[in-house]
């Protein structure tokens, strides 16, 4: 058994091998590896008796799953209209400058990825962004610097 097979097997033991177990298993893989690899998708398909295309379809549907390898900390900046009007562009510029990557990219050390997301429901405190599961609101270039420095020091 490969490492991936073992990881998937553990998740299947935990969540079951029915079709409705697919989403929790995919989330589990994502939490561990920060993306769902093709190898993991095939392994899940095998365990759940689904086609690999089906698993791929589900994995690409949800914004919070990903089939492309990402960094340890995934930054998602809200691009929807309210945040946009609250100068989200300035936020993105600052992030691109600090991290030296463009939206859609991952830093060389695989620590950060920068992505867009749709409305996070924090419009009243926009601009807003997520880093993994944590929300940051009322962003300014200054607060961004602080937040990123904090994450840079985390393991």
């Amino acid at each position: 058994m490969t490492k991936t097979d073992m990881m998937v097997k553990e998740l299947v033991d935990k969540y079951g091998s029915k079709r409705e177990s697919l989403l929790p298993i995919l989330q589990g893989v994502y939490d561990l590896e920060h993306f769902v690899s093709d190898e993991a998708m095939v392994s899940i398909a095998r365990n759940l008796d689904l086609s690999s295309a089906d698993v791929y379809g589900k994995s690409t549907f949800y914004s919070f799953l990903d089939t492309i390898p990402r960094g340890k900390f995934v930054i998602r900046v809200c691009k929807t209209i309210v945040c946009d009007m609250h100068d989200k562009n300035q936020i993105v510029d600052t992030l691109e400058n600090i991290l030296k990557i463009k939206v859609g990219e991952t830093t060389l050390n695989r620590k950060f990825s920068l992505l867009y997301t749709n409305c996070l429901g924090w419009c009243h405190k926009g601009p807003a962004m997520l880093i993994n599961d944590d929300v940051y609101t009322d962003l300014t270039p200054e607060t961004i610097r602080e937040i990123i420095t904090d994450y840079k020091n985390r393991e």
Binding site: M41, V42, R46, S51, A53, D54, V55, Y56, F61
Partner: protein, 599 residues
């Protein structure tokens, strides 16, 4: 009275309709011949309700209602053609067109496309919305059989539902969402690298030119124009009962003679019959079955795989290779009639007519998309050349007849050429689900007992019709000397069509609970008459008409058992001298299979 309670009435465009509870508005309207346009709806598939082209007004409802998805309710008042409805539909269609690579002048589906028909019916002016067609969409031509052009996809998902619901393959899926949503394979791999079995069912369920068969007829026109080439064509049984639909006839029209005449006019040097090798298949496959029964029952050899399963449907063959690779021993080793034909065309036939095999171009007219892949399997070169140079669909043949400027309705009948043009009723019925089984039983029963199979006029009704899985049992009594080991045995057979039903059969085999000796499986619903290369639309009504024509043809034949075909007797006398399953037939008419990956 339960049934009366379940009847409700609604008013559609002022007309009262009584229908059963649960009937959709669309179905109720069809009942009184009120046509509501549809796009994502297909009667073979579950409701998707994603295109909303079928909207109608329901009195009291705030929004327009998608009629394909909404069930009728008691006393509903429905209007299908109000200005509000028409303008909503027109807008929806215009939006679809704005995303569409509208290239009707160069599109294979032009004049047979549901989007084109809707746009024309609703007089959609292309300037209503700016084109938002995504740039740079590549056509996937990696597969021998299927061509996928996402720029012509309206994302109705009929293909995805087909591949999942009818075929249980799930080679294609809906990936991404919103404006990025697309029909994709696993990791967006090319079609030839995934589990697609090439059945082409997605093609005949696609409303547009997004999914089509790879076309090879231009190459055939080249070959026909080449003086040095001797171009032969063999035509499958299900093509003759469907080709009329390409040329203005109703489903099930008998146009065999016209088809043969048209193919001769096109310039094929010889028009021969796949039915001939269908008869040959029966003799080979029947012998193989009796051999397996003997080993199992008489010699008690448990290594022999029973039930034996037919192998003439290449979509089914690729399905079992992917999905049940440990059970390939159950497949008959017989090649399909197309491939038997190819192997003989460049050996036996070439010798007979005195043409060098390298100058023969051998073409097959097929109801099928998977036949293209089959023709290109690396092992299909037993004549020393590629046995079949091209497999064309019924649709491609229809196009060729139109391209040749032939007036199909005026042309008079012609007969198949010889040799390899003779056939029996048993071969014609190969085109319908259950046909191979019926043909095999007619021959096998007679070989075993010396008597006719005990069904009225040789019609084995239990294996006919559109039921997904059919069974029959025949008791073997008073067997001939050579088959005394079968005395008293009840021969149990099953027939499945559509790969979802094949899965049921295979799961029984996998669990060791299969009660059968012999099984016929066809990849496509209805068998070859419903094949992925047949005219569009294909639905149960059309399937039934084509099937009816097949059995009428069979009933009209003088000879209705494969082993009575005089040209079959001749080939065993002159060429396959060591008989069925002999050395030569092994080399030319039998094959082996490849284990493939399911994921």
């Amino acid at each position: 009275m339960e049934s009366i309670k379940n009847i409700i009435s609604v008013k559609i465009n002022g007309i009262d309709v009584s229908i059963e509870k649960g009937t959709t508005i669309l179905e109720a309207a069809r009942k009184i011949n009120v046509r509501i346009p549809t796009l994502c709806h297909h009667e073979d598939l579950c409701v998707a309700g994603n295109c909303r082209v079928c909207v109608v007004e329901v009195e009291g409802a705030k929004n327009l209602t998608a009629s394909c998805a909404a069930p009728c309710e008691q006393n509903m008042v429905i209007k299908t053609n109000t200005p509000k409805v028409r303008s909503a539909r027109k807008d929806l269609i215009a939006l679809l067109v704005s995303e569409h690579n509208t290239q009707c002048t160069t599109c294979y589906r032009s004049t047979n496309c549901e989007l084109q028909a809707l746009a024309s019916e609703y007089n959609v002016d292309n300037n209503t919305y700016l084109s938002v067609l995504k740039p740079g969409i590549q056509v996937d031509r990696s597969s021998w059989s299927i061509e996928k052009d996402d720029s012509k996809c309206v994302r109705c998902q009929r293909c995805v539902r087909t591949c999942a619901e009818l075929q249980h393959v799930n080679a294609i899926t809906v990936a991404h969402k919103g404006k990025d949503m697309k029909i994709s394979t696993f990791m967006d791999l090319p079609m030839n690298e995934v589990v697609c079995v090439n059945c082409g069912q997605c093609i005949i369920h696609c409303p547009t030119g997004a999914l089509t068969e790879r076309r090879y007829f231009d190459d055939i026109w080249e070959a026909i124009g080449d003086e040095k080439k001797h171009v032969v064509i063999n035509t499958a049984p299900s093509v003759r009962v469907a080709i009329g639909e390409m040329l203005g006839y109703a489903p099930g029209a008998h146009v065999t003679g016209k088809m043969v005449a048209a193919l001769k006019k096109i310039g094929f040097d010889s028009v021969l019959d796949t039915n001939y090798t269908a008869d040959l298949t029966i003799v080979e496959e029947g012998t193989e079955l009796l051999g397996r029964l003997k080993s199992k029952i008489k010699d008690e050899d448990d290594s022999v795989a029973l039930p034996m399963i037919t192998s003439c449907s290449p979509g089914w063959v690729k399905f079992i290779e992917h999905m049940y690779p440990e059970h390939l021993a159950h497949l008959s080793t017989c090649k399909s009639p197309q491939q038997m034909f190819g192997a003989l065309a460049k050996t036996y036939y070439a010798e007979k007519i005195g043409v060098k095999p390298e100058n023969i171009v051998s073409v097959a007219a097929m109801p099928c998309a998977a036949k293209k892949f089959e023709a290109n399997r690396p092992e299909m070169k037993s004549s020393g050349y590629q046995d079949i140079d091209a497999g064309l669909t019924t649709r491609e043949i229809g196009h060729m007849i139109k391209q040749a400027g032939i007036d199909f309705s005026e042309i008079s009948d012609s007969d198949f050429d010889s040799i390899m043009g003779d056939s029996t009723g048993a071969a014609i019925i190969f085109g319908a689900t259950g046909g191979v089984m019926e043909a095999a039983l007619r021959t096998a029963y007679e070989l075993i007992t010396g008597r006719d199979v005990p069904f009225d006029r040789l019609n084995i009704e239990p294996v006919r019709g559109l039921e997904g899985i059919k069974h029959a049992a025949v008791k073997l009594e008073n067997c001939l000397e050579a088959y005394s080991f079968l005395e008293g045995v009840e021969l149990r057979v099953a027939v499945a069509h559509g790969l979802k039903n094949a899965r049921v059969i295979m799961d029984q085999i996998k669990d060791g609970t299969s009660p059968y000796h012999f099984i016929e499986i066809m990849a496509c619903p209805g068998g070859c008459i419903g094949g992925g290369g047949q005219p569009i639309p294909t639905n149960d009504k059309v399937r039934m008409e084509r099937i009816k024509a097949i059995y009428e043809d069979d009933a009209d034949c003088k000879l209705r058992k494969s082993h009575e075909n005089p040209e079959i007797k001749q080939i065993y006398d002159e060429f396959l001298k060591d008989g069925p399953l002999g050395h030569k037939s092994h080399k030319l008419l039998h094959t082996h299979y490849t284990k493939r990956n399911r994921y």
